[in-house]
């Protein structure tokens, strides 16, 4: 590890230092505000540091990591997302009778894990990144100890994540046993050399897909999503829906491209089946859901299915589409859960459909932002979600994946129903009897500003996506 490596890893150092700093700061005095500020500042500093990197930057940190444009972009995405989550968390946790401070350590560590994930080029770093993320999430999910559901969600996630990690590890071991390398590039080289892929490697990759699929929450590894989404505190749910899944997607893209997985019908077939199943089952499950968090969970299953369509399309356009979709999806999901968090009160999260009835008339701006987010999820123009979906369809059509594309369209239509249902409830004339909150309004300014920025970027990317597209294209190269 030379100086260059160390320099390249500074964003990670900053993150880990921030975690440790908070750790110590807690041991001195617990102060929510201070720790919040530390977290925000460190994330910001980290991000600004990151923007200093050139997109063309390429610095492998042998053998585990590689810092390249793609990685930098994704780390940036993760940092911003984490920042947004942290910002909406402040108001959320301020009103809860729970120690708040550990939360920030855990979330920084989780972000760090995801960051590792997106720049790893080795099984070991992949695994460690994944586990840092997971272990932090176990605690985050169950963070609100007063709620039974939190524990339930936590233990479910823990057992299932460990279970799927075991699959991932076993798969890795098989691949390693056959190829003698744990580096992506090394494996790729071995396979190229061997001309055909031995079955044991295929099986190894297959088992790894189980682990990956679990993190992505695609069918049939999706069953945890609704329960965990429901049980977690709203900001954590946002985090799971975005960073955790997005990190995995980025990893998958890197891994698959390094291996050039597109030439193997087996994997294409597997992913096609998973994509189709995810789209259908996710959307159909969401149809009559009355819990907004679960609804969003099901919708996220479907969205990952859409994402897989772009992923399967492959080629450059497909990769661009994946990343663009991811960005749009991040913004949208953060927005949606942000609203959910803002509306939550001390007792419980605002997760029932009924909580939203007539919201437009009570809190018009909130309702409009939420509607914008839902419309973006539904892929309606003017929003980022539309451009994302357009991108995905374009990628699918370019490579003639008609089946997937048609199924995507059908599912978009099914999906419309429940997004619209939620919007319709907000526009209903009757109003929910939910009382407004008692906290000092200043607390909400942070959340409100965050939401405003999110919704503006949602529209900005929806109306003028050219900049983002160019950026992504440079990143993919």
């Amino acid at each position: 590890m030379n100086m260059n490596d160390i320099m390249s890893l500074i964003p990670l150092w900053i993150l880990s230092s921030a975690a440790i700093l908070i750790f110590f700061s807690i041991s001195i005095k617990r102060n929510h505000k201070v720790i919040f500020v530390i977290t925000v500042v460190s994330l910001l500093v980290d991000f600004f540091f990151l923007t200093g990197y050139s997109i063309k930057h390429l610095q492998p940190v042998e053998p585990l990591l590689i810092i390249d444009g793609f990685g930098i972009f994704n780390i940036g995405l993760i940092l911003l997302t984490t920042l947004a989550v942290v910002l909406i968390s402040y108001a959320y946790f301020e009103q809860r009778e729970e120690r708040k401070e550990e939360y920030y350590i855990l979330i920084i560590l989780a972000a760090l894990g995801a960051a590792i994930l997106v720049i790893s080029k080795h099984f070991a770093s992949l695994f460690l990144g994944l586990e840092i993320l997971s272990v932090s999430l176990y605690a985050l999910i169950a963070y609100l100890r007063k709620r039974e559901r939190s524990d339930e969600a936590g233990i479910k996630y823990l057992i299932l994540a460990a279970f799927s990690s075991a699959f991932l590890l076993f798969g890795m071991a098989l691949v390693y046993a056959a190829t003698g390398s744990m580096e992506f590039a090394g494996i790729a080289a071995w396979i190229t050399q061997a001309h055909e892929m031995p079955m044991i490697v295929v099986a190894g990759f297959g088992m790894m897909i189980v682990g990956v699929g679990f993190k992505l929450g695609i069918v049939p590894f999706h069953m945890w999503t609704p329960d965990v989404y429901e049980g977690s505190p709203a900001p954590v749910t946002a985090f799971i829906a975005t960073v955790s899944k997005g990190g995995m997607v980025a990893l998958l893209v890197r891994f698959f491209n390094t291996l050039n997985g597109y030439q193997y019908t087996t994997f294409m077939l597997v992913f096609t089946i998973l994509a189709i199943a995810s789209m259908f089952i996710g959307n159909i499950l969401a149809l009559r859901q009355n819990n907004v968090k679960r609804l969003l969970a099901y919708s996220s299953i479907a969205h990952l299915g859409y994402l897989l369509v772009a992923f399967l399309a492959g080629e450059k356009l497909g990769m661009e589409a994946v990343i663009f979709y991811l960005v749009a999806y991040f913004i949208t999901t953060l927005g949606a859960f942000g609203i959910l968090a803002t509306l939550s009160d001390k007792e419980r999260d605002a997760e029932l459909l009924e909580d939203y009835r007539g919201l437009l008339w009570k809190r018009p701006l909130t309702a409009i932002v939420f509607s914008a987010m839902l419309l973006s999820l539904a892929g309606i123009p003017l929003t980022a979600g539309f451009v994302g979906k357009f991108y995905v369809l374009a990628a699918g059509i370019q490579t003639h994946r008609w089946l997937l594309v048609i199924i995507l369209v059908i599912n978009s239509v099914i999906g419309l129903y429940y997004y619209i249902k939620l919007i319709a409830i907000m526009f209903d004339q009757k109003q929910a009897a939910r009382t407004s909150q008692e906290l000092h309004p200043l607390v909400y300014i942070v959340s409100s500003v965050t939401m405003a920025i999110l919704v503006l970027s949602l529209f900005w990317i929806g109306v003028n996506p050219e900049g983002m597209m160019t950026l992504i294209r440079d990143v993919i190269r």
């Binding site: 309606i380 357009f390 048609i406 978009s412 239509v413 129903y417 996506p465 294209r473």
Partner: protein, 516 residues
Amino acid sequence: MMLASLIAILMVGGIAAGFLARVNQTACRWLSLITVTIAFGIILFIWIDEGLSMTLTDSWLRDLYIPWIPSFGIAFHLAMDGLSLLMLALTFFLGILAVLVSWKEIQYRVGFFHFNLLWVLAGITGVFLTMDLFLFYFFWEVMLIPMYFLIGIWGHENKQYAAYKFFIFTQASGLLMLLAILALYFIHGEQTGIYSFDYFALLNTTLTPDTARWLMCGFLIAFVVKLPVVPLHTWLPDAHTEAPTAGSVLLAGLLLKTGAYGLIRFVLPIFPEAAASIAPIAMLLGVVGIIYGAVQAYSQTDFKRLVAYTSVSHMGFIMLGVFAFNELAMQGVVMQMITHGISTGALFIIAGVLYERIHTRDILRMGGMWKKVPFMGTVAMVFVMASLGLPGLGNFIAEFMTLIGAWQANKLLTIIATAGLVFATAYSLRIMQKVFLGKNIEGHGITDLSLREKFILVPLCIAIIWLGLFPQQVINTAKPTVANGSHAKNHAAIHNRTRTDNVQYTSAFDTERRKP
């Protein structure tokens, strides 16, 4: 720039009206009225300025090209020809009436209502103007959302269901169109190396017959759902019935027309052979629509539902005419688009006016209104007659030209379609009988039209009679579009014109394109 300003005025006006309503509701109504009137004024200005002297070679009136997403070859490209001009004139005319008609009816969330109203109009304007397929899809969707809200918030009893149905039907079909657009884009890109969504570029795509047919189906389905064509029509009765009056007017008057417009603007020029190959089926569907809509209309007891089914029937003529492939039929179609917008819009307004007075749409509970409201009765009579195609009113010109054109293409179907006029008579007269004639069963005591309502309905009357007696101006305006097969390709001619907008004009063909 004028074209973009049309859209911009409506959008800005919508937002402004939305906020203004918090201060003063009446001011909000006036603001939206003024906004639409300004747009109408602009269109009239353009029409008078040069529409009256249009010639075949000089058929594109205005053009605006601003690159938007260059990496996909997407541009903000608006252009106007006679057809667009007519459609826009209709749009703003009905738009003004829609604002007026809501003056008393909408007392609830006035600001948001007018915001949606103006944005629907903006979306429709965009649809009628855009010459970039991506942008077209964009506007196509943009007009749906506010429309959804109009139905879903200010509708009648079963509004949610109707709004869902409307939204899902149109979205589903729209997405299929998007697929077709994308496929066309890539095919064209692979052929020429120029990746562009520009309408004029894509016109030159060479397609194998099979591909062409599939792609056309994608476009077609979006348009026929909107039109609507039996059996894809079932969203329409619900949506029309449940929408508030302004919503029904916009739906019937304009949204349905976007489907017809799409057929003329996109399906025929881009896929001429494929369209010709399915013409018999399409015409058959048109005829089925004519008959089926009429039969359905006859049995309805809900006034608005009845009128909605008449729309289905009337739109069948459009299908029939478009696929007859001759100028006469096409002129008939254009005429039908306008006259149907006026006549059906008027009938919905009458239904709304009645509903405001007696709070029911059930025609079995009406009857004998004439004695109380002779003026309304007379007006209704005019539009009922228009809907059954009485000569002297605009609809006759439309139907006559359509049928006489269709006769050249397919005799049997034309005969059946003509027979549909008998059914049209049956249901139209039923409206008159049940609502205005007969006995006043429930003893409704109602007042005749107020000044505002007269101000809405009388211009409609005048318009429909005017179109029936002096349709030539409309025909002339539409002529370059429908009469000349290579009209669309004449677009290049506009480059040489000095009188384009002030914007730096970049050609549609030399922007930066990228092979993805």
